[in-house]
């Protein structure tokens, strides 16, 4: 009876592990990427370039657009236009924004490009798609819980849970516990 239980534990641990490998990689890689969000943008490569043109003389919306297209040598019309303040005009193109300081002619050109693969991984990690992905992610989370618990009972003897396993499990549990006790003020 016991060996049968262990046999099924091994089979399920192994096969759920195979099915989960791809998602473990997705969540692991994007976890690393998102974890350092304060230091970089994990989703987009944003390039900022400064250029200089002659100061603007136009005052109205339409004439600023015409003057900007001419000075910036752009043939495509902007998708939209905005003036956040009297001295600034913004022209929006697909994935590119020109922010013009009208009195000086200083222009900030911001271009954004999605980081291939990583963007998609991150979107799945933060459940941006919602809908059915919510249930897939839930299922994956439950699988991980099962993998963790079933992993405890994979081996018997000195290397099993009754042997060195219990100490290593204890160390693993202490890491979040001690962090929570000593650094809970920063939570």
């Amino acid at each position: 009876m016991l060996s049968s239980w262990r046999r099924w534990n091994k089979i399920l641990h192994r096969d759920i592990g195979y099915v989960s490998v791809a998602l473990i990689v997705v969540y692991g890689v994007s976890g690393l990427a998102i974890n350092h969000i304060a230091d970089w943008n994990p989703n987009y490569a944003v390039s900022k370039e400064f250029i200089h043109v002659e100061p603007f003389v136009s005052a109205s919306r339409d004439s600023i657009i015409v003057e900007a297209l001419e000075k910036l040598q752009l043939s495509e019309k902007p998708k939209n236009f905005f003036r956040p303040d009297p001295e600034t005009a913004q022209l929006f193109f697909q994935n590119k924004t020109y922010s013009i300081d009208l009195p000086t002619g200083n222009v900030l050109v911001e271009s954004t490009t999605r980081r291939p693969v990583l963007y998609q991984m991150n979107q799945l990690h933060v459940n941006a798609p919602k809908g059915i992905w919510t249930y897939i992610a839930d299922l994956f989370a439950l699988s991980m819980i099962f993998m963790g618990i079933s992993g405890l009972f994979m081996l018997k003897g000195k290397t099993g849970l009754a042997g060195r396993g219990k100490w290593l499990v204890g160390v693993g549990a202490l890491i979040p516990l001690l962090y929570w006790i000593f650094f809970s003020a920063s939570f």
Binding site: I37, A38, N41, P42, N43, Y44, V46, P78, K79, N80, F82, R83, P84, D85, P86, Q90, F92, F93, Q94, N95, T97, T112, R114, Q123, V126, N127, A128
Partner: protein, 152 residues
């Protein structure tokens, strides 16, 4: 013949209509409120659900957790803020049109907190922040976002 004209009209509308994407909860209100009206009388709208529309002129670069919506009057915009992860706005929607619904939040923020926020924001965006630009306390008006429809 009559049906052909109607069909052609419908097809034309479908082709010319911009691609639409929904974010968050479905919109519930029938009437829109002008951003200029909210900014002019924020105390009247504090805590109330409103629906606004305009051009998206800014997107949270790293988390997609807010968008800035241009007002109907020049030099005005309103931030539509969502909790991290509830809605994730992609940066590609900058310059697109949005109809957005949420609860108006009006908060008075102290000079010290504004400086802290500015420094934090600069750190996150990789830009610089000059604390001397903060002259005093400010009233921050924003929409606590619930749902939005973005049209290209």
């Amino acid at each position: 013949m009559k049906y052909s004209v109607v069909l052609l009209l419908v097809l034309t509308l479908l082709v010319t209509a911009g691609e639409q994407k929904k974010y968050g909860k479905p919109l519930t209100l029938k009437e829109k409120t002008l951003i200029s009206t909210i900014l002019a009388h924020p105390e009247k709208f504090a805590g109330k659900r409103v629906q606004v529309e305009g051009t998206i002129v800014g997107v949270c670069e790293k988390r997609g957790c807010w968008i800035n919506i241009a007002g109907d009057k020049e030099f005005e915009s309103l931030r539509f803020k969502v909790e991290d992860g509830v809605i994730v706005f992609p940066m590609e929607i900058k310059g697109h049109h949005v109809i957005a619904e949420g609860i108006v939040s009006v908060k008075k923020v102290s000079k010290e907190d504004l400086i802290k926020q500015g420094e934090q924001h600069a750190k996150e965006e990789g830009t610089t922040f000059d604390p001397s630009t903060v002259k005093g306390d400010r009233t921050i008006i924003q929409l606590n976002g619930e749902g939005a429809i973005v049209t290209e």
